[in-house]
Symmetry: C2
Subunit: 389 residues, 2 copies
Amino acid sequence: MKMKPKVAAALESSLIQHLRLREGVSRVELARAMDVAPSTVGLYVDRLIRNGLLREGTKARGQAGRPPITLELNPEAGHFVGVDFEARQLSAVAVDFSQQILERRQTSIRASDTADSVIDKINDAITAVAGRRSLLGIGVAVPGSVDDKRGVALHYQFIRNWRNVPLVRRLRERFNVPIYLENNIRSMALAERWFGQCMGVDDFVCVGIRSGIGAGVVIKGELYRGKNNLAGEIGGWYRGCDGDGAEGFATLEQQASVRAILAQIAEAAAAGDETTLKLRAGQPAALEDVLPAARAGDPLVLRVLRRAATSLGQVIGQMNLLLSPEQIVIAGPLAELGSAFLDPMREVVARLAPPLHAEPPRIVASQLGDYGGALGAAAIAVHQFMPAR
Amino acid sequence: MKMKPKVAAALESSLIQHLRLREGVSRVELARAMDVAPSTVGLYVDRLIRNGLLREGTKARGQAGRPPITLELNPEAGHFVGVDFEARQLSAVAVDFSQQILERRQTSIRASDTADSVIDKINDAITAVAGRRSLLGIGVAVPGSVDDKRGVALHYQFIRNWRNVPLVRRLRERFNVPIYLENNIRSMALAERWFGQCMGVDDFVCVGIRSGIGAGVVIKGELYRGKNNLAGEIGGWYRGCDGDGAEGFATLEQQASVRAILAQIAEAAAAGDETTLKLRAGQPAALEDVLPAARAGDPLVLRVLRRAATSLGQVIGQMNLLLSPEQIVIAGPLAELGSAFLDPMREVVARLAPPLHAEPPRIVASQLGDYGGALGAAAIAVHQFMPAR
DNA sequence: GCTTGTTGTTTTGAAAGCGAAATAATAGAC
DNA sequence: GTCTATTATTTCGCTTTCAAAACAACAAGC
């Protein structure tokens, strides 16, 4: 990995970023990884230690030669808050400077909530997790399209009035720190990159399956946003015979989102399929019931999940042909089902890859759980952090 | 656009690259575009002029202030050769230092050719177009997969023994200049970027429709190659009801490549559809006949083309949702049909884009014609050129 | 004509970062 | 224990690049 910053402050912050990626490295290792002279790294590290952002660890090793002095982030340096919300719930986390989680919190979002009431909930969540420590930055991940440069959330259909919401401006009225806005699938991708399954992976796609389906595309270690921030909208891919959106053909989101899966389960049960689930007529299944049922091997649930996974696998197989990423991460509540959910995808992807494809991309499940999006949002703030001189 | 080179030579070469992108700019404009101090640009430009790579143009303008001294590439500085080959033909071009074409040449490739005889043809083509001028670099674009780092062509099914061909090594035996190898669709993408429809466009996809179908993905101004150089293989996307490669469903390449289109035309004609084409039973149509027939409005040809364009449009529509590129370029012999071929794609892509998509990507036809791949190959050599100090 | 405003280029001193050499700290050999 | 090999860090002089100021070349206004 190479980065050549223009001003000194930028070098300091990329030093910190490298340390985040892998703590406990020495000055020389840092210099090698960053393609910068050891002397320069020494200079900067000393300053960062003086400023209390880094600290030296133990010097230890069995090799020959002078043992390296390991460096680590000073957790005391300050903390960051990340917020993520979705159709039905809002999560917030506070992490210290070394990205350890200090505090977490979830709130539910109701169908009756409007843009204003959601903003209030975001405000409250930040206040609640931030405590009275020194706050260095806030990241907010929201569903739907965003303008990350201006800090405006453009549109999300499931919350009333959620259109051109100047979220960063609204939050800055209360919190006087840098605030960053991002789409939540992309946040989840960043979370994987920074402390999830994709640490050190430069090219990957994070497929988020929640109420909707979206992809966060990371290329050369950086999020790819596309024109008008619209990259990753694979939930809208039409599937089926003509794929042309004609009547009767569904989008991926209509086939394989959590929302769709819960509806399909209810439908199949209503049609009389055998299941251990207790369902109320006309109501979709509840996710809290479906996950344990899947783990217990409920045949109906597994069948629906397998079908959804196959659809996803076909889409992932196509993305693989187009982009050939190193890795695919599956995020969202279904990820915790592990290979029960992932194996059908792996099969399909392997089948769609051309024969000379030495090996198809690794398909892995996110391990970050419910707080992935919030962690990613915090990661954005962390990532952008630049020490004052 | 920003680039921050490490050593002086790298800055010189990126200066030259910027000048290629837009000639006739002044030192100050260059400095602004490259995010480098004007004083530094002055220093380097002076040296490049002393070395005969650049020269000053006229100073002219109507604005206030001191008129800028425009800079241009010195065509005399040397020249580059690009070679591209495909299932049936091999093209080579020589360009001068300012990328003006000096010489071009085509040779046909026979079904009986083997890897060795093709290498001979490449050698001959280079010798023929290079003449006795000072050669600065050679780019070679080949079909199939390549390892650009090692300079080895990995595999191509339509030429016998084309497997792990150490092309760069073989050519260097004869030509003692830097030699670069790339896949030919990616070369075409680079040609568009450097002197085609995508000058100044940072994010685009070039879809090449020839014997096969592939995509060159350019992100942030750079080719994206993917793991094992396998990105862009959209020809293998399965289409149709399940998209799972089951019997009876076709790949995009089987539906919309030039090869497939010619076969479909012959098939439809054999089934008795009305056409102005003269066809021999059991033989595919000839491209040289089909293009004029399409321009003349032959109904059968137009119908087949429209169907292929619709398939392509669906795939492009999906790429658009995933990547949201600024622009899509269609390259290959069918590109010259213009909107007769492109309009069906545009329709489908617009239909597949989500409603809030302000505007779908521009879909344009390559204007580089038969020599697009060869020009791209030359562009790679040009691009990599680094002045001796 | 002369002055003023504007923009492009060059000069000049300072800063950032490099590379080589010096120094430091350890393990293992003796 | 001392010496040597090895690796990490720091020192120091030098190159690259910057930023600000000086200088140059023009248009427009007087």
